[in-house]
Amino acid sequence: MKFSDDKLKQVDEMISHYPEGKQKSALLPLLHFVQKENGGWLSSEAMDYTAELLKIAPIEVYEVATFYSMYNLQPVGKTVFEVCQTGPCMLRGSDGIVDYIYEKLGIKPGQTTADGLFTLKTVECLGACGYAPMMQLGPDFREHLTKEKIDALIAEGKTKAN
């Protein structure tokens, strides 16, 4: 993995947010950026490159990447459904949403469809309790989920893949 000059400029901009010598602070935003550039997950090469960019030891990157739930350490499907299942979403029927996705795609939480298109994850509270049930889809939230909305999201995922 190697960034173009243009991307390196973006990395420098991130580092510029902090005082001299505190570039390690850019680790979380940079890992988001690297993950996006690396097809949605953090390979060990990607993490080593991140360490190199910030002039820190690789283990410092691994420690952080494995701590936070938004970093994927394994490749993921093209569309990842991250359905919230904590209390307030459970009260509004999140279990039914997970069941319905299983019914439609045959995947349980933690699994990816055979064609690699969809991954289903259950996650903990995403701060959208008033708009439950909900899921995270890429950088966006999809709220007030219904069976119809799931159907539409699956269709959208299939279209996107083609």
Partner: protein, 453 residues
């Protein structure tokens, strides 16, 4: 209709952007502070206002600012905690999404008071689009001269950066947030030293919630005394409440802290009552960590007084018969909900979010989750209920940070008030898989005898 200080203009078209925000009177507090007030005078107004931290702990903000160490030649930092992750809480997201300049305005004024030349907003990574909204707003403020060098010719320099988290509830704890902002694992620090002395990069730091900082705007504009006139007693001003669960109108409401819980829950101005004509069974009034209350203790205190939406009234009766204002995440449960299952999802949440640093939390949260799942699935024993009680008791107060307490309290309160429902799961395992225990006696009027000390 109660007064609104934060969200009164949130629905004006285009308020998300600088021009409209400014036209509607935005950034007046910065002008007033930088041109006519000393930093200490701003802190003084915040003290007078009686503003309490809106993140959950309710600590007086002015006092927190007063603790900030000010050694010569050492930078100081203001960090805004936008890592909103407490189940039931989504108020800060709403504020930042609809009226981001209010937060930025509050930050500039607060940074001036605290002497912070670089301030950060630490926002949870899942709110990615909100982060982008904030970044646009910061750039607009920068372009309009509200950020940068020598703001309004006052000699005060200030810049703001938005820092994303990456999925960790624990980073809402202020020292874990600072660690995370330093590019590390979100492990809470062992205190002392407190952030006011040694925080971000070892410098004196104030960490405040989004809503707290936004409230600085009306406080400086109208004066701390005016702000303190709103509300009751030590619960001054307005509070954002995010209401969810089985209510007719989930959403974010700004309330003046002088209305009753009943009015908030049942009036059409707010939650609009329980959805689908059902009855209220239980409610967690301040975010998932605070004690759950059965319907009969929610609307009236054990003394028989009307329970109000204030810090004091919500905690009236202590943990025996009261709860807390917390972060203002109001979760209502109707008669068809299962307290055991709900408690299980919360236990799972806290196990998932424990950083794993200290033994009671790392080991205890998972243990509670496993026992609760057994009970929920009809595989529990009577002794499990006592065991759960003992585990939560041994976590509470013995951990590095408040996550241990936050994990222990919901379990304790659920057993305290709904023990018969837990026992029903044990004695009727087959039934427990098919149906819920229902409303039982949880809304019946309380015997006054409960009021004994």
């Amino acid at each position: 209709m109660g007064r609104k200080l934060l969200l009164d203009k949130a629905h004006i078209e285009g308020i998300r952007h600088y021009d409209v925000y400014r036209r509607e009177g935005g950034y007046r507090s910065v002008e007033k502070a930088l041109k006519t007030m000393s930093p200490d005078a701003v802190t003084e107004e915040v003290k007078k206002s009686g503003l309490r931290g809106r993140g959950g702990a309710g600590f007086p903000t002015g006092m927190k600012w007063g603790f900030l160490a000010k050694p010569e030649g050492v930078p100081r930092y203001l960090v805004v905690n936008a890592d909103e992750s407490e189940p039931g809480t989504f108020k800060d997201r709403y504020l930042m999404e609809f009226i981001p300049h209010l937060l930025i305005e509050g930050m500039i004024t607060a940074s001036y008071a605290l002497g912070s030349n670089t301030s950060y907003i630490y926002i949870r990574g899942e709110y990615w689009w909100v982060k982008e909204i904030l970044e646009v707003a910061v750039q607009e403020a920068r372009n309009a001269g509200w950020l940068g060098k020598n703001i309004l010719g006052s000699g005060f320099d200030c810049d703001i950066f938005v820092q994303p988290g990456a999925g960790a509830y624990i980073c809402g704890e202020e020292t874990a947030l600072i660690e995370s902002l330093e590019g590390k694992r979100g492990n809470p620090r062992i205190k002392p030293p407190f952030p006011a002395v040694k925080g971000l990069w070892g410098c004196p730091t104030v960490v405040n919630n989004v809503e707290t900082i936004a409230a600085v705007v009306p406080i400086v504009n109208d004066g701390g005394d005016e702000y303190a006139k709103l509300g009751i007693g030590k619960s001054t001003g307005t509070k954002l409440i995010s209401a969810c669960g089985n209510i007719s109108k989930p959403g974010v409401y700004e309330i003046e802290m002088n209305i009753s819980v009943e009015e908030f829950l049942y009036s059409d101005e707010y939650c609009g009552g329980i959805a689908n004509g059902k009855k209220l069974k239980a409610c967690i009034p301040g975010g998932s960590s605070v004690p759950i209350l059965p319907a009969n203790l929610l609307l009236k205190t054990a003394k028989g007084e009307t329970r109000m939406m204030t810090y004091e009234s919500l905690s009236d009766g202590g943990f025996a018969t009261g709860s807390m204002m917390g972060s203002g995440g109001f979760i209502a449960m109707d008669e068809d909900q299962c307290v055991v299952k709900h408690t299980y999802t919360l236990a799972r949440f806290y196990r998932h979010e424990s950083c794993g640093q200290c033994s009671p939390c790392r080991e205890g949260t998972g243990w509670m989750e496993k026992i609760l799942l057994n009970i929920e699935n009809g595989k529990g024993k009577m002794s499990d209920i006592d065991l759960l009680w003992d585990i939560q008791r041994k976590i509470e107060g013995n951990t590095i940070c408040p996550l241990g307490d936050a994990a222990a309290w919901p379990v304790a309160a659920a057993i305290r008030h709904f023990r018969d429902e837990f026992e029903w799961h044990v004695t009727n395992p087959a039934d427990a898989l098919k149906r819920n225990y229902g409303l039982a006696n949880y809304e019946k009027p309380l015997e006054i005898a409960v009021a004994a000390p």
